[in-house]
Homo-oligomer: 406 residues x 2
């Protein structure tokens, strides 16, 4: 077994901890933020770019890669590390989130639909779906698995715990995730309980499938569900936390407010084994990360920082931000003649070489180089944010308030 | 005067020559191919990328930059070199080609309309023009200059020799071009003659305006016109070649076939001063460059190599090409499982790190990183092509046939 987790420091009077995740492709200092490489590429960036800004770990998408180019093809080409030439730690999700989002997110108008249908893919909207999928539910769940239609061409497909793990074995990431059912914040208590119990049965099937493959270089994380219901989250944390996973992810609906999200973490994390890493799925707002770290989260992933970048929202130090989210809108006319870098405190290639005025121009002209320069900056900002959190934990100076004020 | 041109080698039995252009921002080894930075950015690439693949000189677009962000703004920000952080040789065109293309190219359905309306700018098609420009001619020429409507917002604008040179002074490129009238291959002899004579009068006005500014760091090139008519090309080469320009460009219609283009060069180049550099505007096909070099051309610019890249047409060595143009279509299913680089003989970052299979996937998924990786490769191919031409001239082995066979 090449995987292990070492806790190297703890922050007093919080659950925050710093540590090192050892994987077959290298170490990850935690707490860590991973860049999202949905289709085997972090949008607009190369592996060299990611290395240059200190990205330690990236997460690719089982659903998207199974559809295109196909996990068998990637396996034939030597696995996902070789395919995308990323020789560093790599995670894949199970595809559960995307498959259920096809159904629930469209039905209820909730969820991160943009994760499935990026704005760049002009054709990927429900009304543009192939005619054979019109009026047909996009996803149908049974106790064994889920049947769904590809958002690319309407092809009928099937995913279940065994198939998800097999695909993830073909992809070959260092960290892989159990196949779960992700519920919507609008689902009832009864439905959320039924889905959670299904997720627990699927968790055991994922472990069995993973054990059959005997791959020492891949570690399997379980996923806690239960929506924003206290007894369900506590039960799920106990059940999933009691299974022999290498780490744990917190998935599904985190409620309708920051307060509910904090409550979900407070119900869940104390019931997970202290010695294993914890991953809060899909969260990437700066203050949410601080609150998550304070509650004992070790890993974060989110497509937002790179999506913000593409949309013109660039992360900056608190002193120069226009808002609590610490983002400036580079399209604003006030930057048209601004010779300063995006953030004078930033050490990224973009801030070292270009002015806000130039980025404003590139963004307005929709120049392709804009997307890379902006993504480099926002991801570098996230890496510095995480580095500062780790340093504060190690120095014993970590506190939510102190970091909220920086 | 910081500009000079030194001829260092000549190829026997052709007009090919190798040399060095000295500018305020560095030297350019000729024959050279310049990358096109229409809107102050080579599409999908950064200055660092361009440096890494050996690009010596780039050409930006007066028409586009005057419209957005405006040449006054760029001047206020320290000029185009500073604005785009390109501290190497830089050229700007005069805007003539784009302005006349707005009229003639749309009227006659000829010309490189894609240079004005890149496919990426979905809104930039005639039918999407602002309503105030519907039914109004896009460009109206008089003997003094030209009135036209912005393709961005329909604003009425005016360009004449003095204004074009003033804008180019504000931008501050090392090499600038005279404002000419670019005719269509469908224009009559009479119209082509009238336009050529207008171009000659404008050439003198450009020289006068340039002399008034007394900028020692900018060199002005004249443009020969005359369409595919022998007596007009010979007359234009004599008139423009007799004016005190620092170099000469060959513009306008080069006829309807390769043969006509070669004839235009054979009529023109022997009548231009041997000691000054010659630029063939807008040509970038591999064999056309070889034929141009053999006829005495020193400089080339063309948006095609980067546009081919974005469209999936990647340049390769002749041995592995699918066609005489030496381009493979990366979208072809045959590359879906191909572990080889685009071109095994290529030393670019893309070929050193990624397979055709991965690029095929990125292209199909319309991943933003595809555009950079493909553009890097095609431009590096052009740089190697030019390097080999220069080496052959210096070694005394240059011949059109030998290079056509490589």
């Amino acid at each position: 077994m090449t995987f292990s987790f070492e806790i190297t420091a703890r922050a007093p009077s919080t659950r925050a901890r710093a540590g090192i995740l050892h994987t077959a492709h290298g170490d990850i200092e935690t707490p860590a933020f991973m860049a999202v490489a949905t289709q085997a590429a972090v949008k607009a960036l190369t592996p060299e770019d990611l290395q240059s800004i200190g990205v330690q770990l990236i997460i690719a998408n089982t659903y998207h890669l199974a559809l295109r180019p196909g996990s068998e093809k990637i396996a034939e080409l030597g696995g996902l590390h070789a395919f995308m030439n990323w020789q560093h730690p790599l995670m894949t999700d199970s595809g559960g989130f995307q498959v259920f989002s096809l159904g629930a997110a469209i039905r209820d108008g909730v969820g991160k639909i943009a994760d499935i249908f990026p704005a760049e893919q002009a054709g990927a909207r429900e009304e543009n779906f192939p005619s054979q999928s019109k009026g047909v539910p996009l996803c149908k769940i049974d106790d064994d698995g889920v049947t769904f239609r590809s958002h690319l061409d309407g092809t009928l497909m099937r995913l279940d715990p065994e198939r998800s793990i097999t695909i993830q074995h073909q992809l070959g990431a260092d960290l892989i995730l159990a196949f779960d059912e992700c519920t919507s914040p609008l689902d009832s208590y009864e439905y959320t309980r039924a889905a959670m119990e299904r997720t627990h049965r699927w968790a055991e099937r994922c472990l069995e499938q993973h054990a059959r493959a005997r791959r020492d270089d891949q570690s399997l994380f379980g996923i806690v569900q239960g929506g924003a219901y206290r007894d369900l989250r506590e039960e799920s944390a106990r059940v999933i936390g009691g299974l022999p996973f290498d780490g744990f992810a917190i998935g599904g609906s985190l409620g309708k407010s920051k307060k509910e999200m904090h409550a979900v973490l407070d119900w869940t994390i104390p019931r997970l084994p202290d010695s294993k890493p914890r991953h809060l799925l899909g969260i990437g707002e700066l203050q949410d990360i601080v609150e998550g770290v304070a509650r004992g989260v070790d890993l974060f992933d989110c497509a937002s920082p790179t999506r913000w970048a593409r949309n013109g929202a660039l992360l900056v130090a608190r002193e120069i931000a226009e808002n609590a989210e610490q983002r400036i809108a580079i399209s604003n006319a006030r930057y048209a003649l601004d010779p300063a870098p995006i953030d004078p405190t930033c050490d990224c290639y973009t801030c070292q070489h270009f002015s806000r005025a130039y980025l404003h121009h590139l963004h307005r002209a929709r120049e392709l180089s804009y997307y890379r320069l902006a993504s480099l900056h926002n991801l570098r900002f996230m890496m510095r944010w995480m580095r500062d959190l780790r340093a504060a934990i190690r120095a014993g100076t970590f506190s939510v308030q102190r970091l909220a004020d920086r």
